[in-house]
Subunit: 104 residues, 2 copies
DNA sequence: TTTATATATTGACATATATCAATATATGTG
DNA sequence: CACATATATTGATATATGTCAATATATAAA
């Protein structure tokens, strides 16, 4: 039999700064516009800012604001190609968030 | 071969009101104090409000506020036993949130 | 019924957030 | 270079949120 040190029923207990990071992700996910944006992103794999104003029905500065929030949470990453910003999901961060949610 | 009607890479596409519901859950998850609270809840299975002030280091009204936010999102449910309020996680809501996150 | 205790509500305050118009910056094209 | 276009930033505004003191409500005990 393999012995293991388990502090509680759950394997991983988050410390304060880890909690803050994940909380920031959840907060970023906690807006309908950003959820729609992420859904579009997940459907297409990659999406340009210029393709978002239509479906999201928001002004250009508002779109820019939301992408910034998502970048700062680590949920998406951006790459500039010519005049266009292309966004894609950051799988690593999503994994962390999923794992956290899975342990609740 | 089984044919299936897939509108996109993802199976389920959320409509506006579904998005609002899930967004409300994520917003509820997007606070460090509430994440700590949920972690305690998940460790113990059930927890009383009176057991939260200590670990969370917040005032009684603040604890009450946070439990209310979690109830209104559907993430926890409460039951009054005598003078005490006992809280537990609502697995159904967590499943919906996990499924949504899994599809992104 | 009076008293003590657990929780909820109210009110106040400071901070955060979502939104857009106006403007700035960056990049490609003539 | 001058111009057009895609995105970012700034400033303003309205609304939402986290927090606690004070108070109200509910429940048990004496």
């Amino acid at each position: 039999m393999v012995t293991s040190k388990t502090s509680s029923a759950n394997e991983l207990n988050l410390n304060k700064s880890q909690i803050d990071l994940v909380a920031k992700c959840f907060a970023a996910l906690g807006d309908p516009v950003r959820l729609q944006l992420l859904q579009l992103l997940s459907e297409r794999g990659e999406i340009c800012s210029c393709e978002l104003e239509g479906p999201l029905n928001k002004s250009q500065p508002t779109i820019s604001h939301h992408t910034k929030v998502l970048v700062e949470s680590g949920l998406i990453v951006g790459e500039k190609r010519g005049k266009w910003m292309w966004w894609k999901l950051n799988g690593q961060t999503f994994d962390i968030v999923r794992r956290t949610l899975g342990n609740l």
